[in-house]
């Protein structure tokens, strides 16, 4: 496969990556080779739609220039995938009654020496973004606006190439 220089650079930057077809045809739901073969795990209804749109002579539903149903290689864009873990925890000033209850149980279990036990949550995500900075920007927005409530919770972000 021929990759352009910038695309190749992105591939080097990410230890793993996925292929995304960014042609207008693909986004509009027209057939791609893999879609016709059902490799996307699409539901039957969607798969049927692809099948019925399979290009044939005289098919006027296809945009002009559509020939074989294959994606022109020059339009392939490679987007790195990042694995993220957002840790959400109650702010230190907020009482954690569930943590207190678990601490009591830990002591009853006979585990000595626990002076603090606080319960938070971990949210694991895979995110496709052109670069790490952009992935981080999106995840910070997500964490601040949805995953954590800044009134009572703090969060931290771990990010790595997948």
């Amino acid at each position: 496969m021929n990759l352009t220089a910038s695309v190749a650079q992105r591939a080097v930057n990410a230890s793993a990556f996925q292929l995304e077809a960014k042609t207008p045809n693909d986004l509009n739901g027209s057939p791609t080779t893999s879609a016709i073969e059902g490799e996307h795990g699409l539901g039957q209804e969607r798969r049927n739609r692809f099948t019925t749109l399979y290009p044939s002579r005289g098919d006027t539903t296809q945009p002009k220039g559509w020939v074989s149903g294959r994606i022109p290689l020059a339009l392939l864009v490679i987007v790195p995938r990042y694995q993220a873990r957002v840790l959400v925890h109650l702010r230190p000033s907020v009482l954690d009654p569930a943590g207190e209850a678990a601490k009591g149980a830990a002591i009853r279990l006979g585990v000595d020496g626990i002076s603090k036990l606080r319960i938070g949550k971990a949210v694991e995500l895979d995110i496709d973004a052109p670069n790490e900075e952009e992935a981080r920007r999106r995840l910070e927005l997500l964490s601040d606006r949805l995953l954590a409530n800044p009134v009572i919770e703090d969060w931290s972000l771990e990010l790595q190439d997948s």
Binding site: L90, V94, L95, P97, A98, A101, L146, L147, N149, V151, I152
Partner: protein, 217 residues
């Protein structure tokens, strides 16, 4: 004059509110599916109790992004009356229409009982009928009703006279015994107790009637 009652997937007090406003108080009421965005013709909107979107992530965290609530922000900013009961109160804090947050009850129990309450402010029309320092009894039913806020926010609430209702005997560990608050302009009230469950003598008294009556006053 019409009241809208928002119905989220997982709301379970929406019918109770309609039963109270329409059935007990004879106030015109219609229910609003969470995907609706047209609030025209409504004079007040109630966010009912329940478990909106399963209360996944945090109570009210996902409901905050419901289409109907984007319209509600406009509605509230134009002075429309908004009443959030229980889960509705949690949604209002997530939405930022009211400050603070509601967290797990201090004793970890889901508390379902009648709660004695004191009116803490009659600055707004919501509680005028009860009189200053008036007392009332309303049912509470929640696992996460412990009101929390920063010291600065608490001071702001006090300065604005926005603490509307306090518990007589704090059941959940709320700061300053807070059971309900209003926003600074007074058109938004959020509270954990359920006024709609106290509108008929046969089912839990009638102390909630004046609060719901205030929706259209």
């Amino acid at each position: 004059m019409t009241i809208g009652v928002v119905v989220f997937p997982g709301s379970n007090c929406d019918r109770d509110v309609q039963w109270a406003t329409e059935g007990c108080l004879n106030l015109p009421t219609r229910r609003l599916w969470h995907e609706e965005t047209d609030l025209s013709g409504l004079d007040a909107v109630v966010l009912p109790g329940g478990f909106s979107y399963g209360d996944y992530l945090r109570c009210g965290a996902i409901a905050r992004f419901a289409p109907v609530l984007q319209s509600l922000m406009d509605f509230a900013s134009k002075g429309g009356k908004v009443l959030g009961i229980c889960n509705g109160f949690q949604v209002l804090t997530e939405l930022g229409l009211l400050p603070g947050a509601l967290t797990r009850n201090q004793n970890l129990h889901f508390i379902c009982e009648d709660a004695p309450l004191h009116v803490s402010s009659v600055r707004t029309g919501w509680l005028k009928a009860y009189g200053n320092a008036g007392s009332l009894v309303l049912p509470i039913a929640h696992g996460e009703g412990r009101y929390q806020c920063s010291n600065d926010t608490l001071k702001q609430l006090q300065d604005d006279d926005s603490i509307a209702l306090r518990y007589g005997s704090n059941p959940n560990g709320s700061v300053e015994d807070i059971a309900g608050i209003t926003n600074a302009s007074g058109n938004v009230l959020g509270l954990m107790p359920h006024p709609e469950r106290a509108c008929d003598p046969a089912t839990g008294g009638t102390d909630g009637r004046s609060m719901l009556q205030a929706l259209l006053n």
